[in-house]
């Protein structure tokens, strides 16, 4: 990981989003104290925790495969963090029992305290793992791919449920995910990671509307990338000019990114791009056309109202409603974002 600087506000729900190998789990483990950074510091409430051993960090960690103690009952699993405390700070047996009962209720597993993890479903195990982490009243809650191993329906339920839990406990929560929908739906702020670097930190709105790098725009939602050239304040793609604001951008090669939803069939004689209609399908509202844009190697699906529809194989003008342009820097990387349209 390189140059990672992240400030998480108390009570925030933050997602670490990135493809596998982007370093998101490593970052989470550094926060937990399970990995130690070669350089840099980890601060909890402004207090240096870099050299604090895991045991003393008071982080609630939920592992991807839950890591439940299989030889203990659900209740013993949840009470574990309290039972292992040194005698001075350990609650009484009765207090531990009461806390376990309360947590079982909180995660909606009342009455299952006597079961063993092997006798639970995936979603239930996940909730036991969460209750176990909450039992120690952690300073932060860390979740590593919390829904990774669950099927789609349980995932959806648990997502909503996790959001509720966060609201009720007010705990600062960081979770790792590779699923952008999950990150966008759950988190207050999303940290997009790629190859050990933070690409962007922002609210879901910011990531959708003002992606800071080509990586972010293609990772968060679908995007089309067109190789363009900036010269004398004009952006050209395959000889056509695109009406994109180039104010303050360096001339040379650049990439224009736009979402498939931001392109539409334009009126005859106007439009930024041109394409050929590959197929047409009727939809309730109009026509869905598969269009091959000149100079772009994949096809796009565009919904357009009936009256604008073109004939199969015919050429149609297309206009961009929204796009972002990333000029190349001296290394040929497309980094610093322009505003685009």
């Amino acid at each position: 990981m390189r140059d990672v600087s992240l400030d998480i506000q108390p009570g925030e729900l933050v997602a670490l989003l990135g493809p596998s190998g982007s370093g998101k789990t490593t970052l989470l483990r550094v926060i937990a104290g399970l990995n130690s950074p070669d350089r840099g510091r980890v601060l909890f409430d402004g207090e240096n925790a870099t050299n604090l051993p895991v045991q003393d960090r008071h982080v609630g960690m939920v592992f991807q495969n839950y890591a439940l103690f299989k030889h203990m009952t659900v209740a013993d699993n949840i009470g574990y963090g309290l039972r292992v405390r040194p005698r001075r700070t350990r609650p009484s047996r009765a207090a531990i029992k009461a806390r376990v009962t309360e947590l079982l209720q909180f995660v909606q597993l009342d009455g299952l305290g006597g079961r063993y993890p092997a006798q639970l479903s995936g979603g239930q195990r996940q909730r036991v793992a969460l209750a176990r982490a909450l039992a120690i009243e952690p300073r932060v809650l860390l979740l590593d791919e919390p829904f990774g191993a669950l099927d789609a329906r349980v995932r959806k339920d648990l997502r909503r449920w996790l959001r509720d839990i966060h609201k009720q406990t007010g705990l600062t929560t960081v979770f790792v995910t590779h699923d952008q929908d999950e990150a966008m739906e759950l988190a207050d702020r999303v940290v997009v990671l790629n190859e050990g670097r933070i690409e962007q930190i922002g609210t879901p709105e910011e990531l959708y509307d003002r992606p800071a790098s080509p990586f972010v725009i293609s990772f968060v939602g679908e995007a089309v990338a067109l190789p363009v050239t900036i010269a004398d304040g004009h952006v050209t793609f395959g000889g056509r000019e695109l009406h994109i604001d180039t104010h303050g951008l360096r001339s040379g090669p650049a990439r224009v990114f736009f979402r498939p939803a931001d392109i539409a069939v334009a009126a005859e004689g106007s439009g930024d791009l041109e394409g050929r209609v590959e197929s047409l399908r009727r939809t309730p509202a109009g026509v869905r056309a598969t269009i091959a844009i000149d100079g772009y190697d994949q096809t796009l699906e565009i919904d357009s109202p009936l009256e604008r529809s073109a004939s199969l194989g015919g050429r149609v003008p297309l206009s961009l409603a929204k796009a972002r342009i990333f000029p190349a820097d001296e290394n040929g990387d497309y980094v610093n974002a322009g505003d685009g349209i």
């Binding site: 103690f69 299989k70 292992v84 063993y116 982490a133 039992a135």
Partner: protein, 287 residues
């Protein structure tokens, strides 16, 4: 309702239907194997000694030399199995959990006591621990004698029993997820607590199996022990040796008598271990 004929057919079935056929064949083989190779010789042994009667067996067992050898055999075997339990666990842990140069080679060494003719082990151990051997000489300076004493027997039995513990525990350790330790640590548990509360319980059934195997092997061990034990009657004479001695004196009833007593004690001991194991599986077995 299913048709009566189907119910009848299923009810007569001895086992659940399986995709792999051949239950009859394999079950028959199992019975014949156990019968001819294991139970028949044991039955012969009991039949041979049955002429003695219970009072005869008791007379043999209470013969001071026999009683001493039985004590030597069982106590030292037990002690050796206990030592193997600890060292075997450590060796298995190191070989599975850590990656270091030469790990595979070291792993292969563990099996040597299996492969070595036990007499070879006995001779080399005797040479090492004898008062002028590499280990024996420095120890002799401190007045510690290993070879030709009961300690020698212990050393030999530890040597031959170790692989049993290592090999039974190893696969279970490799199945233990590292995340379990990490989870325990994030919940505030110290290292010792993590080991005792999280790591050891899932290993308990396998450890007991390894212990039982090492113990059983030690009871029956002959080759390596007789070279290092010195075989002093009443002190370092093991029961299997006494059987041989009796046979050489054509005292067949005496020999089979000792054998039957050993069989009974071994069986009782292993049954006990199995019961403990069954309990531990129930207790910790939800793995």
């Amino acid at each position: 309702m299913t048709s009566p004929s189907l119910v009848g057919k299923n009810a007569r079935r001895f086992t659940a239907p399986s995709v792999i056929p051949g239950f009859g064949l394999t079950f028959g083989y199992t019975l014949i194997y156990l019968g001819v190779i294991v139970l028949f010789p044991l039955a012969t042994l009991i039949w041979q000694s049955s002429g003695l009667g219970l009072s005869g067996l008791y007379a043999i067992a209470s013969e001071p030399r026999v009683a001493a050898s039985l004590r030597t055999t069982f106590f030292i075997s037990f002690a050796a199995a206990v030592v193997d339990l600890f060292f075997g666990l450590i060796v298995a842990w190191v070989l599975t959990r850590y990656d270091f140069p030469g790990r595979r080679l070291l792993d292969a060494f563990v099996d040597l006591p299996f492969a070595l003719p036990t007499a070879v082990a006995g001779i080399s151990l005797a040479a090492l621990y004898s008062p002028n051997g590499w280990f024996g000489a420095p120890l002799a300076d401190y007045d510690i004698k290993i070879a030709f004493t009961r300690w020698g027997i212990l050393v030999a039995l530890i040597f031959i029993g170790l692989p049993f513990v290592v090999r039974t525990v190893q696969p279970i350790i490799s199945e233990l997820e590292v995340e379990l330790e990490e989870a325990s640590a994030t919940l505030g548990a110290g290292r010792l607590q993590t080991v005792i509360r999280v790591m050891l319980p899932p290993l308990a059934p396998a450890l007991l199996t390894g212990f039982a195997l090492a113990f059983a092997r030690a009871i029956g061990e002959y080759g390596s022990v007789i070279f290092i034990a010195g075989n002093i009657a009443y002190v370092s004479e093991i029961a299997p040796l006494l059987i041989v001695v009796k046979l050489e004196q054509y005292d067949v009833p005496g020999a089979t008598g000792i054998a039957t007593i050993m069989l009974a004690i071994s069986f009782a001991a292993l049954l006990l271990i199995n019961l403990v194991q069954a309990w531990s599986r129930r207790r910790f077995g939800h793995v």
